[in-house]
Symmetry: C2
Subunit: 392 residues, 2 copies
């Protein structure tokens, strides 16, 4: 007979899932009710309103997709695209590449705008691509690249899309709650996120929002959305407006309790306060790392405070460090992904995990581990340097 | 500021989600760890083995899709079908219709075999359709129709598919754990289920299994799977074999804890014992309902013990009864769906909810509610009739 699984208690400072607030774990385990229960329907309305708050939007079509962030990405592409459409896709990390895969699987054409990993998307290149492709329907880009730790100027990119008559699709998986996401201010058309990053909720759900213009495009498609599960025309019948809720699929009820709890925690803190907290803890971590002699690989002008890519010092065994941190400190930091595998560690300071306690713990665990392996770092100075940031 | 959501404690006797075992809710709230954590990878292996046990299969490609049952259905169709393929789809309720939608959204053709709602799929009609369409690639049918409460002869239907060189896709969302599901014995090729029925787990995850023959078809496709998120060629890299786990999407870690707990509960009880318990509680409920003067609309020869469709007596207000049960007893029973809306109630006795306590509670609440509304039923006899079944 198989035994119950009792996970170790880790500190999650990788690229996500991030440390989950215990309040959210408790909410998750509340008694399950039906997905058409009047009280669940009222909860859905609450979640919708709270997501509008988090995304800073009045979009009516704002809801959580019942699947992880990748499915949120797919929901945006399959609903807006039809075969033969042309999409300008910006790639400056792993997730732009995934966007290309999504475009092509819709029978659409992806025009790639490439930037170096760790750099933001270059608006000049995007403008050139928009001019060269006046028939493009959509501009797609990643606001916060989880694979590199760089963010791009979403306001400028969405404005360029609009100037050239394009819809915009924006990935805010890692940004939502950690840095400013301003869907209406940007004029973005389709935006998706995930629960397991700066919302500090369990992984598995993808908040999405569509502008009225995008919703109109979805309603007036020539062809059916290729995914039944992600078809917003059907999902609107369950999540939408004032009409009777029509059964589409069985909502992940308990995950909705958790998402709701994570959003009220964000509401209580306030968006500005949350962004400031993320910025402060990033500054403390970066200062401590620099004092130790380690470098963040992304320039401060476009560095995500919630995801810090740290160059692995020469001669240091990447996997051995991560493995020692996990085994000796129960601390998870992230490996590099794609082109950055073996070159960087990704240290997350997301949501509930963006705290002074985690900053100090990570610095001390990393310092002790690297020193123990004979790496050439400055010891005994990182913690004080970080603490000085908080004292300012 | 928004308040936390504290759901009422319901008894869930609808078509699912069913009552969740408290052990599973507790497992759900255990601390989140990373989706590439060595301990999580070990848990994944355990889940895979336990799903093989539940499905009665040795299929290597057996895993939980990170989304609800509808996505499990879609995973089977989008992976096996390519544009232009022909599929024989059996429809005897809502979910056969959803299969047709899936087939058409793959650019494939659906040949429908229709049976009356509440009747099983007729193997003679299926055989005729297979003979008339020698170029069909797949036979798809629902083992346990959640919309009607009828089950079909999966063994016979899968054998017919094989005789005619077709792959089979089988919906076992409501059957898994409640009646016999024998994937290898049937020779089924792609089978999907859900967590929120007889596994008594929270909704949101879809166990699937693919035969070696189906896996071969997936590996040798001419075209890419239209869904990136559900592409088994990619998912195999995360869930598959002995190789290093490649990141695909962030697994819903806590939902995996819950699924694991639900499967070890099933393992400890044993498949046969679970089926017998479902059969016994169904018999007691049916006997009590009959004593009251109510009728189950599906013939006993193909009636699902876990989902009982009860004819709404003439003159009785469907919605008022369900609403009184919910408000006065915190008891949820299901409404009719599709063609059966307003004609039947669907009373679930699934997994943890298939218990003597729930049978007696439901009979008494229904009797009292109907009597209070002046319905012509026999009172004071149902509970004793049900108890006599247990005493046998």
């Amino acid at each position: 007979m198989t035994s119950s699984f009792h996970p170790p208690v880790r500190t999650l400072m990788g690229p996500g899932p991030s440390d989950v607030n215990p309040r959210i774990l408790e909410a998750l385990s509340r008694p399950t009710i039906g997905h058409l229960d009047p009280q669940f329907v009222a909860l859905m309305d609450d979640i919708k309103r709270l997501l509008q708050f988090a995304f800073q939007t009045s979009n009516e079509l704002t809801l959580p997709v019942s699947a992880p962030g990748s499915a949120g990405m797919e929901a945006c592409f399959v609903n807006l695209l039809e075969p033969g459409d042309k999409v300008i896709v910006c790639q400056n990390g792993v997730f732009g590449g995934r966007m290309k895969e999504n475009v092509e699987r819709c029978g659409a054409e992806a025009i790639m705008v490439m930037d170096d990993w760790g750099m933001p998307v270059d608006p000049a290149k995007v403008e050139a691509a928009l001019k060269a492709n006046p028939d493009a329907k959509v501009l797609a880009f990643v606001h916060a690249e989880t694979s590199t730790g760089a963010y791009s100027d979403a306001h400028r990119l969405c404005a360029l899309a609009k100037e050239h008559g394009c819809l915009s699709i924006v990935d805010t998986v890692t940004s939502l709650g950690g840095i400013e996401v301003d869907v209406d201010g940007w004029g973005a058309d389709a935006v998706y996120s995930g629960t397991q990053k700066c919302l500090s909720c369990v992984p598995g759900i993808a908040p999405v929002t569509f502008s009225p213009r995008a919703a109109e495009v979805i309603r007036n498609r020539r062809t059916a959305v290729q995914s039944w599960f992600l078809d917003m025309n059907l999902i609107m019948g369950y999540w939408g407006g004032n009409t009777k809720r029509a059964y589409h699929h069985t909502a992940p009820v308990n995950a909705m309790y958790a998402l709701h709890e994570s959003l009220i925690i964000l509401e209580a803190e306030g968006l500005q306060a949350s962004w400031q907290r993320h910025a402060l803890n990033h500054k403390a971590l970066a200062t401590g790392l620099n004092a130790m002699g380690l470098e963040i690989t992304v320039d401060e002008s476009h560095c995500l405070p919630q995801l810090n890519s740290v160059a692995i010092p020469d001669g240091v065994d990447d996997a051995a460090v991560r493995s020692q941190l996990l085994n000796n400190y129960q601390l998870e930091i992230g490996a590099g992904l794609g082109a950055l595998a073996g070159k960087v560690w990704r240290i997350g300071l997301m949501g509930y995990g963006s705290s002074q306690k985690n900053v100090l713990f990570c610095l001390q665990a990393l310092e002790s581990t690297l020193a123990g392996m004979g790496a050439k770092i400055h010891t005994g100075v990182a913690a004080a340097a970080a603490l000085a940031v908080y004292a300012d």
